[in-house]
Symmetry: C2
Subunit: 362 residues, 2 copies
């Protein structure tokens, strides 16, 4: 392992995911072919990792192993994972490497709930952020959008939604290079329903606060996500997760309909054969391993969650995403965004308070 000034070290939970090292190490290999500046910390069972590493010299020369016998089961409850795996598990140690500065970012294909619980516990949330969010990159008709939260929280109050808007727009700026990403709050068509107050209040705040770093456009509905109407879609984690998985399911369903339709007769089969380059392009476009990775935002350090079932290509996509985020200085963008937001709200508080009251309360 020969680190240099440009080296970016990624700490990887080598035991995470449905497949483990056999998918992860080949995935790291693909990533390092694309980005030779990558180095890896592989955390997990040395006996399981070493043989796979031997078969991938490009990874081996850039990796060091941190051995641990403890790994977090894919179906462990977050509290159980914390109890049994804190400070000892491959997941924890991979996150910890970000805290100590040994790694610039952490990638895990492990249990989402456990990864979030451990990340919160180990890295702590950023100043002023109550709850971290998981941001997904969503392929749209126009390109890509960011949707958050897709599963870290259930239910969100006004402040959490505002935080998600700030965090998500910082990520959009980092990832897409857009100076003022457009932001929409996910809502249902019917306005006058109990339970939507946090969404309305967050909308009002975002409209009035006038943050430099984002362009709040109003409410969006489920069908607006895929059309790419906004760069950042903000929602609480339950509906965000349902939306994400429903979209995945629908894409698969339509793909199935298409296959059936093309197999219906000799003529359609011939047509499909002739149109194969088009279908191949469509398949590439819809390949779930092309876009893989939920980004944990709002923590002191960034963690990327890969799909549990990801193959080597999927792992590579998650690592590439992590790399891009460090490369484009996501943390700095988030810090700027939050600083400006606090500045604004401090100014707002001062402006509302007469000087005498301020003196009295200080």
């Amino acid at each position: 392992m020969t680190p240099n000034a440009n080296t970016l070290t990624v700490s990887v939970d080598a035991m995470g995911g449905d497949i483990g090292p056999a998918a992860i190490v080949p995935g790291l290999d693909i990533s390092r072919q694309r980005h030779p500046e990558l180095a890896y910390i592989l955390v997990g069972d040395e006996a399981a990792i070493t043989p796979v590493l031997k078969a991938h010299p490009r990874v081996e020369e850039a990796a060091r192993i941190i051995h641990t016998d403890v790994s977090v089961a894919m179906d462990a409850k977050p509290s159980q994972a914390l109890r049994q795996g804190r400070r000892t598990s491959s997941m924890w140690k991979a996150i910890e490497a970000v805290k100590t500065g040994d790694a610039g970012i952490c990638v895990s294909a492990g249990n989402t709930g456990a990864l979030m619980a451990m990340s919160k516990f180990c890295l702590k949330t950023l100043l002023g952020v109550d709850r971290p969010g998981i941001a997904a990159i969503w392929p749209t008709t126009r390109g890509e959008s960011i949707v958050l939260d897709v599963g870290a929280t259930v239910g969100a109050d006004t402040q959490m939604l505002i935080d998600f808007a700030l965090l998500g727009s910082a990520m959009a700026r980092t990832l897409f290079g857009i100076e003022r990403p457009t932001v929409g709050l996910l809502n249902v068509g019917v306005e006058e329903v109990k339970g939507l107050e946090p969404i309305r209040e967050a909308g009002q705040h975002l409209r009035e606060a006038g943050y430099d770093g984002l362009d709040y456009v109003g409410f969006v509905e489920g069908n607006d996500i895929g059309s790419g109407r906004v760069d950042v879609v903000v929602t609480e984690g339950f509906s965000g997760n349902i939306a994400l998985k429903t979209a995945e399911g629908t894409a698969r369903q339509v793909g199935g309909y298409l296959r059936d339709a093309m197999r219906a007769s000799l003529q359609t089969k011939l047509g499909a054969l002739l149109a194969k380059p088009g279908f191949d392009a469509l398949r590439r476009k819809m390949d779930p391993s092309r876009v893989n990775g939920g980004v944990f935002l709002g923590l002191n350090g960034t963690v990327v969650k890969s799909h549990g079932g990801a193959d080597a290509l999927g792992i590579a996509a998650a690592v590439d995403l992590a790399r891009l985020m460090v490369h484009n200085r996501l943390s700095e963008a988030i810090a700027d965004q939050l600083r400006q937001a606090h500045q604004l709200s401090d100014d707002g508080a001062s402006a509302e308070q007469p000087a005498a009251t301020q003196a009295a309360s200080s």
Copy 2:
């Protein structure tokens, strides 16, 4: 208009929807071609309805008009619609015809929130049902499923989710002819999150209660809806609405990708031309006007909400759905289902109470 024993009268809010009578009357014509036993009560502005009716003698001979000048704006708030349109609007009078028994079912393409508010106010909820739900018919890989609630409520407590399971399974039995429809509760993968208690409690109740009329299979996720894993997917209205619209958006998005892919080169264009019968079949399968109609469940009378932008074919689909529900005795199925549920919970309550307490409390 010559009613006979088999006549089924549908009351229609002729002013509802983005298009109004010009889409609605032709839609009723299509429905009556398919089902000559249909008769119509058309509520709305006589001057707007009559000319269209003249052009559709098949509807005219089976329709009577109830004139009113008042109609509910598509963007009116529910409370505003109630205040301004109660007892006077085309929407109210169409619902009222179900209450008086003049019609067997009501169809409107109007403002969803207003239609639900007026339906609740006019028809009242069924005994023991706290909040009605809107059920959508969802095309799946295996056929069709029912998803509710898709927008009547935001947030739902344990009892509401149980009610939705009872109502939805009665509808599945009516519509699909399945004796014990399978039912799943929509949830996210992470189990241990605050806010999911109502879902877990509803799940536990459904598992333990052992209702004859449904087969509770457990939690399902967003991707399970389109795969048709269960006949009935139960959720609260916010995430249900988000899921429905996200699926619509995703289907449109994939359709767009497909079109682009087929236009990429001369070869793919030729292939697509040859495969045209397959693409036509796919288009029919994904045609949103083929399945149209949200069914309001849990009221003393059934109301079907058509998509606001529905064309004549869409309106016909909503009317056909309404007809099928009356034809297959949805109301009776729901009454049976609820009666059994109350019977069970009464038995449960009695079993838990010693005889002395029962006597004392009676």
